[in-house]
Symmetry: C2
């Protein structure tokens, strides 16, 4: 990797980047990675473009072009007017800015269907983390291998996380187990938790919890579908 | 349900609601529903409050209070200055506005670990949709029952979706199967697709695709964790 984030005359180091921009940068990185894969994979057409316009990248990422251009000012200048962005350079630039070339170890707790799906998720490579340890409380699961890792006893999580320097935990347990698991993880030094279980977790102020609600996107789709089926509703209207 | 969305002097019917507001309304609804459950469940403390301040609701939803107040103007007025929002009234108001009291039928394709987790997801009730049909291509899965529904042959999806009036599909297949499955769903009249598989789907312009990237939130956490471990980075800084 020779790419680096350049000094940015229009961006500048230390300028605070809003969370929304960080999230969109991650989406651009995913889109660009998929484009690069398409351009080099077995099905790649000859002469596949090496650049992408801001309009095309914005469309593929589902954001407004103005947002894209503003987001990229935080990285410095990667675009050439009339030519667009070099896909390889922009990919490595965003990757470095997001720290996606690092590999923070992550503990995953709860190896039911969701946990197994997460452990084996193909989209986790090159995103700045790696699943480093699996835990469950079920004796029938402990000792089994999932995605190349042996499921360990949640009772050993404190020692294992401390020894491996794990600071990020994923909770994919049923709701009733989520709080005790969070307590174990926090006691083991975990400072960031991604929670897939319903309900609110109580943690110390210096621990960050992000909640993934698998129903949210489907709820949005159902809402829009309802608007389509009933274009003159009594409730709210939606801009596109 | 006697609740309705009142005529809103400060909001007004037909005023376009931004997608971001729709998404946040869905988050408020989830938080309020969880609060109501906590207030009425077996562990409910006596005298649990029936109202919530905008500051508390904003904090639980992870949004800025100013955003919350602006979002709720689209519904009309549910708050009383100095008292806060009545949890029950606000819940039913948002629910009606989002159409969460409807129940749009959804087809789920791909009953691997992720699909099974989705089919059995506890957080799907009262969100405006219901999983109505399951499909897979694997003969070993077809005919099995998951979450009360029999897995059907993807080859029958066209007929089943048309007969059941299914307009929303969820793709939880491996990446290579996602495009052919999308083609089948679109041919069956599906107009909204939620895609959990990596990669870009090609669909007609009048079909809406939303992509769920299970890595995104974890990438955000890893990014923030990297900032904590290395507070003087060469890349971008983040506002809190």
């Amino acid at each position: 990797m020779t790419a680096q984030v350049p000094d940015a005359p229009d961006g500048g180091h230390g300028r605070p980047v809003p969370d929304a921009t960080v999230a969109r940068l991650a989406v651009y990185l995913r889109v660009l990675t998929e484009l690069r894969w398409a351009a080099t994979g077995p099905a790649a057409p000859l002469g596949h473009p090496r650049t992408i316009s801001s309009a095309d990248l914005a469309r593929l990422a589902g954001v407004k072009p103005a947002n894209l251009r503003r987001d990229l000012t935080f990285l410095g200048s990667y675009g050439v007017r009339g030519v667009g962005y070099d896909i390889h350079l922009l990919t490595t630039g965003i990757s470095a800015a997001l720290g996606a070339d690092r590999s923070a170890p992550v503990a995953l707790v709860g190896l039911g269907n969701l946990g197994q799906a997460l452990a084996g998720y193909a989209g986790f490579g090159g995103r700045g983390f790696r699943i480093a340890a699996l835990f469950d409380a079920d004796p029938q699961r402990i000792g089994r291998t999932v995605a190349g890792l042996v499921i360990q006893d949640i009772g050993d999580a404190g020692r294992v996380c401390r020894e491996a320097g794990i600071a990020i935990g994923v909770i994919a347990t049923p709701e009733h187990a989520a709080q005790p698991v969070a307590d174990v993880l926090v006691g083991a030094g975990v400072r960031s938790i991604l929670n897939f279980a319903p309900g609110v977790l109580l943690v110390p102020d210096d621990v960050q919890v992000r909640r993934v609600d698998l129903a949210l996107e489907l709820q949005m789709l159902a809402f829009h579908e309802g608007r389509r089926a009933d274009p003159a509703p009594t409730g709210v209207a939606v801009s596109s």
